[in-house]
């Protein structure tokens, strides 16, 4: 219970509920009160009118001293069910007329309730204002509320000049007309309306409470508990957890920034993990190198020592030379391991790409000659200098040329290196490296590649049919791969495969073919829009377009070797993917990919089995504008 009470939703509901209860109670109280007084006023007015009308209608009969007629009149009126009593007293308090015959002749006490208005003082009032003529009191007999109206009958000229000479001119008040009305009906009406208002108030309070409960649950409790679950998950280490964003208010924004935060945290952790891995790999390599080098020292010194001592025994010499050679090879391997472990920071300098390729070629010239591979050059003479790590670049070219020469095979062929400066719009060059839906789910598909690059995928739904669309991640290259064909004439949706949020831009149509448009977020680089029509190449990426045309150096290494089967084409840049079996580590192209990526460049491959392979590297002359 305490747990429940402490919840924010409960508190909000409680506060709003109590507030509405108070407001509605006050409102109901005043409504009832005012209705009560309106009704009573009405009854009073009605009573006064009745009393005045009766008095006026009796005036003539009284002058004529027509007692029988007055009596009849009073009796007739007294038959009305709401009228309890109709009486006329004379000055002495003697009842001279009454609807109830038994009352006639009775003298009433001046201290009675009805007399009080005038007889409160010793000297009775002669004039009584109309609003003071009425009195509400309870009848002792049946405990019902009644309204008494006292109407003094004043002496007038016609009265004391009448033939009967009953009254003298000196008298002011001749008698009093007293009517008592039952308030039973009015009281019942008041009770009924009180009940109605109360009922209405209760229904309103309960209704408001339910509405509040509903919306607070929807807008506050659910998102807050979603956030709480997410923070718990993140605290427990699950950085992949994302909150589903269903609203656009402050809590929605909080959830969005929470998602962004965990996303960045996950990236940072990944990076940390990667560098941590490299660091421990480095320590491991260093340890291994040290441990291996000591025994290798024994082998190498003893064998080279023996080699010196057995110059006269050629049959032993040959064997010893093998030991020395192989130990030296081991030494080189260990040295490579140590070099890898050091992971030196790339040292970038202005360099000539043609020169770097030439240098790479000199390193492997012998190997190419042995494989009967002809090395052809097609260099651009006006190639600008470019800021690169020339050692890393050399490594890239050595690797690519060696790969090409391996692909050429024993019958010989050629490897051709070409360079040229190109000036390109970002269209068709820049790779879309990050793509997300509006809920921060990555749309990048690392496993299914086009041209060796990860693809961008979305889910297209039409007629109960789900189709995964894969998009070339080069901006402007709009090749699709999809399981089935979409009929663009019929309705379809474009969704994020993870959360099914729509990626379709409902407000816009492709300016070229009027088909539907998708919109994807590219974090840090704005939004990218494109046309879903397979035959239309329209795409726009304003933030990247704004950075303008860029100059690149394009390096192509091509061969006429065995080519790469289509099914392998998408995997060649994956670490540990190798077709060379024991000969390769499968790291070569992955490392190349990393180096080119570090230089903000792109690398792609085109290949046809038994025709040849072409690697195209594009390096930007100027680094990308920093966001």
């Amino acid at each position: 219970m305490k747990h429940f009470v402490s919840k924010i939703g409960f508190k909000l509901i409680l506060v709003v509920g109590i507030t509405s209860l108070i407001i509605i109670s006050v409102y109901a109280f005043f409504t009832i009160k005012s209705q009560h007084s309106v009704l009573l006023n009405e009854v009073e007015r009605h009573g006064n009118q009745l009393s005045e009308a009766l008095k006026k209608s009796m005036h003539y009969e009284m002058l004529a001293n027509n007692r029988e007629s007055i009596h009849n009149m009073i009796n007739t009126i007294g038959e009305e069910p709401s009228i309890r009593e109709v009486r006329i007293f004379n000055k002495l308090g003697e009842i001279i007329y009454s609807a109830d015959d038994s009352d006639i002749g009775r003298i009433i006490n001046l201290q009675e309730e009805r007399c009080f208005a005038c007889h409160a003082e010793d000297e009775p009032l002669h004039r009584l204002p109309i609003n003071e003529r009425t009195r509400i009191f309870k009848k002792e007999t049946d405990n019902q509320r009644v309204l008494g109206i006292i109407n003094p009958i004043y002496n007038e000229q016609t009265c004391y000049e009448a033939d009967c000479h009953a009254h003298t001119s000196s008298q002011t008040v001749l008698g009093v007309l007293d009517i008592t009305l039952s308030l039973n009906d009015v009281d019942q009406q008041i009770k009924k309306s009180e009940f109605t208002i109360l009922l209405f108030s209760i229904i309103t309070v309960v209704g408001i409470s339910f509405i509040i409960v509903f919306f607070i649950r929807k807008w506050v409790v659910k998102p807050v508990s979603g956030l709480v679950t997410a923070t718990k998950n993140v605290a427990a280490g699950n950085l992949q957890y994302t909150i589903d964003i269903t609203q656009n208010d402050e809590l929605g924004q909080l959830a969005t920034s929470f998602n962004n935060m965990t996303h960045k945290l996950a990236e940072a952790r990944m990076q940390l993990f990667q560098s941590d891995k490299m660091a421990s790999l480095g320590r491991l390599a260093a340890g291994v190198a040290h441990e291996i080098n000591n025994p290798l020292t024994g082998v190498l010194t003893y064998s080279s020592f023996l080699l010196k001592r057995t110059k006269d025994k050629p049959e032993i010499q040959d064997d010893l030379k093998v030991i020395v050679r192989e130990t030296k090879r081991s030494r080189e391997i260990v040295k490579g391991l140590l070099d890898f472990a050091r992971q030196s920071v790339p040292k970038k300098n202005k360099a000539d790409i043609n020169e770097i390729i030439d240098r790479a070629y000199t390193v492997i010239e012998n190997q190419l000659n042995m494989n009967k591979v002809k090395f052809e050059k097609n260099y651009s003479t006006d190639l600008p200098q470019i800021v690169v790590d020339s050692n890393q670049m050399q490594q890239v070219f050595i690797n690519l040329i060696v790969n090409a020469s391996d692909a050429v095979g024993p019958n010989g062929g050629f490897v051709k290196a070409s360079t040229r400066p190109i000036d390109l719009s970002p269209y068709g060059v820049i790779q879309i490296k990050k793509a997300e839906c509006s809920k921060r789910h990555s749309l990048i598909d690392e496993h299914n590649k086009i041209d060796g690059l990860p693809t961008i995928k979305f889910l297209v739904r039409q007629d109960e049919k789900e189709v995964i669309f894969r998009l070339n991640s080069i901006y402007g290259k709009k090749e699709h791969e999809s399981g089935s064909i979409i009929n663009t004439q019929k309705a379809f949706t474009i969704e994020c495969p993870t959360c099914a949020i729509s990626l379709k831009n409902e407000n816009e149509k492709c300016p070229e073919c009027n088909s539907s448009i998708y919109t994807i977020d590219t974090p840090g680089q704005g939004q990218l829009k494109g046309c879903i029509n397979k035959n239309c190449y329209w795409q726009t990426w304003p933030e990247i377009e704004a950075s303008g045309r860029r100059e690149f150096i394009e390096i192509t290494i091509e061969d006429n070797g065995s080519g790469i089967p289509k099914e392998n084409l998408s995997k060649i840049f994956d670490p540990f993917f190798s077709t060379k079996g024991q000969k390769g580590t499968g790291l070569g192209l992955a490392v190349i990919w990393g180096i080119i990526d570090n230089h903000d460049g792109t690398i792609k491959v085109e290949s046809e089995v038994n025709v040849g392979t072409k690697f195209i590297i594009r390096l930007p002359l100027e680094p990308m504008r920093k966001q």
């Binding site: 000591n294 020292t297 190498l300 080279s304 020395v324």
Partner: protein
């Protein structure tokens, strides 16, 4: 060499390394002692005098660099050659900066260690001659005061326009005694601080590696010294330069170099 035998101290925690070094020294007729730790080595040095020390860097408790400090503290001036299985450029550079006269990465061949031992012994002899020589005698030429050196073997002179000249010290040439031929790297190749950049082939059949004082790209090499080796021997600091290079990270590497102006004191 025959009358009073050269005495060498080997400090290494690996028995197989000690054994192989003992074998090599024995073959050359050197007298040897060994210690399996730096502390043990220092104790031996207190009792005996050695001509040369061969010391590993990765040692239990006290490492090779601390051993060098220990020698310095005890004012033992015996030349030290460092070896290590953790054969990185950083270790090489640090060894030379800390006062070792040479650095040989493991694993080594017999000839590789022999050439280093040879230089080390010659170095000791030169220092001995220096001790008893008159101040007017020129035993070897010191490197000019504006130059910087890595250890005692190679020098670098920062000339203007972002260039540097690299060469070999007279002391190194004297320890090599004399060489038949010289092998240099080619223009456009990169040299790295602490890595071999030139190879001197001696009459005895040894190859003496010169460790480069800085890293950079070679833009010119001295073809004169290749055609006429004696230029180096005559004037190693000026006409006998080896390379002109564009240094890649001179600020960082300077802290591993020793200023030659201190040699004049």
């Amino acid at each position: 060499m025959t009358s009073d035998k050269i005495k060498i101290l080997i400090v290494d925690d690996e028995q197989v390394v000690v054994d192989s070094l003992l074998k090599i020294c024995e073959m050359e007729g050197y007298k040897t002692s060994y210690a399996l730790s730096a502390e043990e080595g220092l104790v031996l040095l207190q009792k005996e005098k050695f001509d040369l020390i061969l010391c590993d860097i990765m040692l239990p408790e006290m490492n090779g660099f601390e051993f060098l400090e220990g020698l310095h503290a005890r004012k033992i001036e015996t030349p030290v050659i460092m070896t290590t299985g953790y054969s990185t450029v950083e270790n090489a550079v640090k060894s030379l900066y800390e006062g070792a006269i040479d650095y040989v990465p493991k694993p080594f061949e017999v000839d590789e260690i022999l050439s280093a031992l040879n230089r080390g012994i010659n170095y000791g002899k030169i220092k001995n001659i220096l001790r008893y020589a008159k101040s007017s005698d020129i035993v070897y030429v010191d490197c000019p005061s504006k130059y910087f050196r890595l250890g005692v073997a190679s020098w670098v002179h920062i000339t203007g326009e972002g260039l540097a000249t690299v060469g070999v010290t007279d002391l190194f040439l004297k320890t090599v005694e004399s060489f038949d031929s010289l092998k240099l790297m080619v223009v456009d190749e990169e040299i790295y601080q602490g890595s071999s950049c030139a190879w001197f082939m001696s009459e005895k059949g040894f190859v003496h590696d010169l460790l480069s004082p800085i890293s950079g790209k070679i833009i010119e090499r001295n073809e004169n010294v290749l055609s006429n080796n004696s230029i180096i021997e005559k004037d190693p600091f000026f006409d006998g330069w080896l390379y002109k290079v564009i240094p890649s990270d001179i600020e960082y590497e300077m802290k591993n170099l020793t200023s030659c102006s201190s040699d004049q004191l």
